[in-house]
Subunit: 556 residues, 2 copies
């Protein structure tokens, strides 16, 4: 066993430098430029990483502080890179990659010398972190959170001058739902029952079908919920999880950490990132033929990084596919509030399944939701939940046990999850200001998505599907051969080469498509729609100008 | 691989009923009565669980709602108990056990009929969750949290009437440390840099040695930090972690989930739960002889469930042992503020190591801290951190990568962690009220510990070591043979039998010692010191009366 691990480790060692020196840098996630390039229809993250050793050997722009020479000073400490869990080495979350590390370096240089670069500031378009770019929190939500944090002020007269009447009322309601009003106590491992009741009311209002508070597991953001399901389902490398390509790298990371196999299915860019059942079937059969037992299908709707919103008919086909093939449907629905086009609507997979007449015993379905996305974008609060349906009581008990190991998720995040699923209603004192804040954010996001999409499509050799939802655009760039050759010469992928040039010229940070996976030979980048609206024209003009010069330089 | 897993699963299946029906019940953790009984010097959690099948076969008091008959209705759903990850089945966190499930059932019965039992209420002495039992939060901490949640009120005049001047000032300081003042944004994966700086100042003031903010990883409570280290260190069953017996079951659960082997070392009850180096050596050698590579030593100081505080000399021996043997020291120091006896003091292991002249390159040491314990007891906030020292930069990068997968811990918890490590100082407006609140809680805990300890030692056949620290007493009960035989006859462990009788007679909930591990043939229970002080006399008289009747009934 250990011999095998050691061998595996040697393969992985070459790759480790990608993560060098990250601990010195702030957290704006990004994605390694190399992680999902050169996909084949079936691969494990380990196989993938082994193929990347040449890429990994390239010098890391800011790894001086933690280079090999320093590591040797630790020769007396017991933990060596070849004696840690190889799954950790394999895991390629890649929330840090060379582009962001470079961006942070440039930012430091600008601090020292504002004239160091041909731009004044770094524009982080690499991560769905709205409030880091100036989006303001929804007032009502923050009022309620503050009052629940310090209930001692609830009945003070000054409080009425500072807080809306319905936020005070809501805080009282929430406190009454917490045993002993103790917001500082561990809750039920699934979360406070009264808050789960409220969330279920929100789900019922959204779907028109009943929801059961015993199905809700509140978690610190959606990520721990995803890990929990992967931990439950994955026994070994022989267990596979069908994931879209391009995908959000949480999935590949989690599958690697739990030792499973990622079975990719490709979204069809030509049909607006369409999800074809024939592709699912093909990949499922191919996995089976290789001895991989597919346990679950991940669907991200609205899509990340692709921004597509699934059509209802398509969702029905997906439900039938999972039902027929006996696999769990893991529905990442964290962007359910982020829809920007009038011809598309969000439908939860549970609503779709129930509307087809499939009940609790017919399909195993997990829906993930988060307070980090939507119009609220409360990433720092780490609130979220999963709604778990179609699992037998004995399996549910195992999920519960795993949830219990960390006792409970944070209570503020739990409260916020209940608020986003049950915001102010018509007639509430806060309703108007709440609606105004919400509409302003969502309509601005829609305008920003449209402006960026149009600007991208105006660029030579760039095509960009509509951002129907979520927070991202994922344009395809037809790179000239000369650019591709130059990238090869400097030992990087062509999309990473483009992103690096863009950053150096404009200060704009995007993530190369290879961080999410893409059809071999195609090149993309992911760009968020999150910079505040008054910055969008400058971003567009900088990007347009850069792209022109880039094409002029490399045009074949 | 899968064949092996399936075989393993069959062994484990008999055990699954222990967790039946838990999802319907509120979260007050407890510990399975059977999990660590009949320990041998070296065991894996899997081996342990296999031995427990007879215990597991006993009927579960409230499992009707999720019995096998209902499970059969799920025959069309894909996930079966024998097709999930066997490590999940093996994991015995046992935060739910038969005693608490019974307590919850009795509580429901009391709601319907207040005369249903010979007591008015259930007294939960099973879990370190102070605010669930009426402990009030520290005002200053909650003021700052509320202001950071809703910074819009910071410069309003009413705010000065509601909040102390230094809480307003502190909130401004903290907001200034957060890029863009965005408390709703993802932070650096290790936590906000400014808050880590503050925590380091607190560590430096405590220890008298420097602390580096790059060594701090803020986490949602201490549990995720423990998992992170286990995930890093454990490659397979051949990797062992030395854990005290009795232990806090997070460790056995985490080792099981990550597929390692728990290598137990026994604390010596006769010397006040002394930690003997000779015992560590013996168990290490025994593990080695069985092909197990010991990666780390867990030390819980102050002890849980034992309440002992390690002497400085003993700590030095432990540091030398880890250094000499080349194993990582995992120091659970979450009870560092909970010391109740004048002859003992808390010394962090880092302070001990540095005072011995050992630096960063000499010993690998991780210290875990939490906002859930101490005098603040903010369990629901899920704040905590680990201080990671003595790991090479390349290993640190791997820890960072794992931390990054969940983006960051919740910001309120991060802020609270900075507050507990840097509370108000002499001269601050809040200092007097803060000190009064803190001292009242700690001195009351000390009195409660003393009262309960004396009362326990007054009971026939009961001996109880001092609660020098933490929040628990772990008395030993010399059970009469007749009680032991009766327990056997009803297919339960003698300590669980005692705990069940105690609950049925008095409403007091304690956790049988077998949930933590104990020397075979000895019997204990864990009882928190957390019920409010005015309840202690009633608890003592109920317990005393019960114990007398129990002994009268079963005395040999």
């Amino acid at each position: 066993m250990r011999k095998f691990a050691a061998e595996k480790t040697r393969h992985l060692l070459a790759h480790r430098k990608i993560f060098a020196a990250v601990s010195q840098h702030p957290a704006a996630p990004l994605y390694s430029s190399s992680s999902l390039q050169k996909l084949e229809p079936l691969f494990s993250t380990a196989v993938l990483l082994r193929r990347l050793s040449t890429v990994a050997d390239k010098p890391n722009p800011s790894s001086e502080s933690s280079s090999g020479s320093m590591a040797s000073d630790y020769s007396c400490t017991p933990v060596k890179i070849d004696s840690i869990n190889p799954k950790v080495l394999e895991c390629e979350y890649a929330v840090r990659g060379e582009i962001v590390i470079l961006a942070q370096k440039l930012q430091e240089e600008l601090k020292v010398n504002p004239d160091a670069h041909p731009f004044d500031e770094i524009l982080y378009c690499n991560i769905g972190n709205p409030q880091s770019l100036g989006q303001q929190p929804i007032t009502f939500f923050r009022e309620v959170l503050a009052l629940c944090d310090h209930p001692a002020i609830l009945d003070k007269s000054e409080t009425q001058g500072l807080f809306s009447a319905d936020s005070i009322e809501r805080a009282f309601e929430i406190l009454d739902q917490i045993p002993g009003r103790a917001t500082g106590a561990y809750s039920h491992s699934q979360g406070i029952k009264g808050l789960r009741d409220t969330i279920c009311k929100g789900i019922e209002a959204r779907d028109g079908f009943p929801a059961d508070p015993n199905d809700i597991f509140l978690t610190d953001g959606a990520s721990p919920a995803v890990h929990m399901m992967m931990q439950l389902l994955i026994r070994s490398k022989d267990d596979g999880i069908l994931c879209p390509i391009p995908q959000y790298p949480l999935y590949s990371a989690s599958i690697a950490l739990h030792g499973g196999t990622l079975v990719p299915y490709f979204l069809d860019e030509a049909t607006g990132w369409g999800l074809e059942i024939s592709e699912l079937k093909k990949q499922l059969e191919s996995a089976k033929a290789k001895g991989v037992s597919v346990r679950a299908l991940v669907v991200i709707n609205p899509g990340n990084p692709t921004g597509q919103v699934l059509a209802e008919d398509n969702q029905k086909q997906i439900v039938d596919f999972c039902r027929k093939e006996g696999i769990v449907l893991l529905a990442d629905e964290v962007y359910q509030e982020n829809i920007y086009v009038p011809d598309k609507q969000f439908h939860s997979f549970k609503k779709i399944a129930r509307s087809m007449g499939y009940g609790e015993k017919d399909i195993s379905l997990v829906s993930f939701q988060s307070v980090s996305k939507g119009y609220y974008g409360e990433c720092g609060k780490r609130g979220g939940y999963m709604e778990v349906t179609g699992f037998s009581p004995e399996i549910r008990e195992q999920i519960y046990k795993v949830a219990s190991v960390n006792l409970c998720s944070n209570i503020s995040g739990q409260i916020l999850a209940s608020l986003v699923m049950n915001p102010p209603k018509v007639g509430d004192e806060s309703y108007e200001s709440y609606s105004a804040e919400k509409d302003a954010i969502l309509s601005s996001m829609a305008r920003r998505a449209k402006s960026l999409e149009e600007a991208l499509n105006d660029l030579e050799g760039v095509t960009c599907n509509r951002a129907e939802g979520a927070m991202y655009l994922f344009p395809r760039i037809q790179l000239p051969n000369k650019a591709i050759e130059t990238a090869k010469a400097v030992n990087t992928t062509p999309d990473a080469f483009y992103a690096r040039q863009l950053l150096n010229a404009t200060g704009i940070v995007v993530v190369p498509g290879s961080g999410f996976g893409q059809v071999p030979g195609t090149w993309h980048f992911r760009c968020t729609i999150l910079p505040q609206e008054d910055r969008i024209p400058a971003i567009i003009s900088r990007l347009t100008e850069f792209h022109k010069r880039f094409m002029d330089e490399y045009r074949d």
